[in-house]
Amino acid sequence: MPRGVVIIDKERCKGCGLCISACPHQVLAFSGELNRSGYTVVHMEQEQDCVGCAFCAQNCPDVAIEVYREKVPA
C-alpha cells in the first residue's frame, strides 16, 4: 500500500471529528490542542498507517485537509 500524509489546516479545523470517524485506519485523533477559535483540532496520531485514501478530506466540512500520496512505482 502506498504511504499517505494528510496536512490539516489547524485554524480551519472545527474539531467536528468526522475525519476521525471516516478514516479506515484510525490514523487521526484529537490532539488536545486548541486553535485560535477555541476548537480542539485533529492531528495524525498514527502517521505510519495513512495510505492517502483521502476519506478524511472527503468528509471534512471545512476543507481543512490536504492529502498526499506516495507515487506507486510502475
Binding site: 504511504r3 499517505g4 500524509v5 496536512i7 485554524e11 480551519r12 472545527k14 474539531g15 467536528c16 471529528g17 468526522l18 470517524s21 471516516a22 476548537y39 502517521e47 505510519q48 492517502g52 483521502a54 476519506f55 478530506a57 472527503q58 468528509n59 471534512c60 466540512p61 471545512d62 476543507v63 485537509i65 490536504e66 492529502v67 498526499y68 500520496r69 506516495e70 507515487k71
Partner: protein, 252 residues
C-alpha cells in the same frame, strides 16, 4: 512528518473555485461538504468564469463568500425565480441556486415548483436538514414526525403541523425536469455518489438539457443536539427511511 510531501502526489486539496474564506458553518455541518463538492465540480468542468451562484436566506446566506465566481444573494425563497431571471437574461451563464429547506420548500414553494415546471435550464441544490438552522432551530416542512424543534417542543404532531414533505417526489411528477435526485453526505461512499450527481446535474445544464434538482440530506448537529458523527448516523439510519436516496428522474 515521516515522508516529505515533495516526493508525493497531491490527491486532495482545496478546489480553486473556493475562496480562502473560512466557512461560518457549525462544526460537522454538511453545508460545508456540499459547498466543497460544488466548487470541485465547477473546477472539473472548468466553468467558473461562466458560473453565477444564487445564495439563499438561511445558514447559506454567505454562499456568495465561499465560491470564486459571480453570485447574487436572493430574497428568502426566491432563489429559483432569481436563477430563472438570470439564466433567461444570459443563457450562456451556468446558473445554480443553493437553497435550504425553508427557502426551497416553505416560503419558496411556488418558485421552486414553477422553475422546475418551466424546465429552466438551471441547477438547483436543495439542502434538506429538516430544521431551520439560522433562525434557531424551528420546524421545517421537512421535519420528521415527533422531531423536537423550537416550534414543536413536544415533537412534530401531524394533526397540527402536517407531514414531512417529499418535495423531490413532487418535482419528479412534473414533465419538464431532466434530473431529480436525492443524495446524502453521511459517509465517504455517499459523498462520492453525491459528487457524481452534482457533476451530472451541471453537465446537463452545460448540454442545455434542462432543469436539475439535487436534494441533499444534510445534518444540523447544532439544532439536532447531536455530535456530528451521531448526526451522520441519524441521516443514515432514520432520515433516509423518510426520504429515500437515489435518482427519481434521469432523462438526460
Amino acid at each position: 512528518m515521516p515522508v516529505s510531501v515533495e516526493k508525493m502526489v497531491k490527491v486532495f486539496g482545496r478546489p480553486k473555485s473556493l475562496t480562502d474564506a473560512r466557512f461560518t458553518y457549525c462544526p460537522g455541518c454538511h453545508h460545508g461538504t456540499l459547498t466543497r463538492i460544488i466548487a470541485q465540480v465547477i473546477d472539473e468542468l472548468e466553468i467558473a468564469e461562466r458560473t453565477v451562484g444564487i445564495a439563499p436566506v438561511g445558514c447559506a446566506v454567505f454562499a456568495y463568500r465561499w465560491f470564486h465566481c459571480d453570485a447574487i444573494q436572493a430574497a428568502h425563497g426566491r432563489a429559483s425565480a432569481v436563477a430563472s431571471g438570470a439564466k433567461r437574461a444570459d443563457p450562456n451563464l451556468i446558473v445554480f441556486a443553493y437553497q435550504g429547506d425553508g427557502d426551497f420548500a416553505s416560503i419558496g414553494t411556488a418558485e421552486s415548483i414553477h422553475a422546475a415546471n418551466r424546465g429552466e435550464n438551471i441547477t438547483v441544490f436543495f439542502v434538506n436538514n429538516q430544521v431551520y438552522g439560522m433562525t434557531g432551530g424551528e420546524m421545517a416542512p421537512t421535519s420528521l414526525i415527533a422531531q423536537k424543534t423550537s416550534t414543536t417542543p413536544e415533537g412534530r404532531d401531524p394533526a397540527l403541523s402536517g407531514y414531512p414533505i417529499r418535495f423531490s417526489e413532487m418535482i419528479a411528477q412534473l414533465d419538464a425536469p431532466v434530473y431529480v435526485t436525492r443524495q446524502a453526505l453521511y459517509d465517504t461512499k455517499r459523498i462520492l455518489e453525491a459528487t457524481k450527481a452534482v457533476k451530472k446535474a451541471f453537465a446537463y445544464q452545460l448540454e442545455e438539457k434542462g432543469y436539475s434538482l439535487v436534494e441533499v440530506l444534510a445534518t444540523c448537529p447544532t439544532n439536532w443536539r447531536m455530535a456530528p458523527t451521531d448526526a451522520n448516523k441519524h441521516v443514515a439510519e432514520v432520515v433516509t427511511t423518510v426520504y429515500p436516496l437515489g435518482d427519481l428522474v434521469d432523462r438526460g
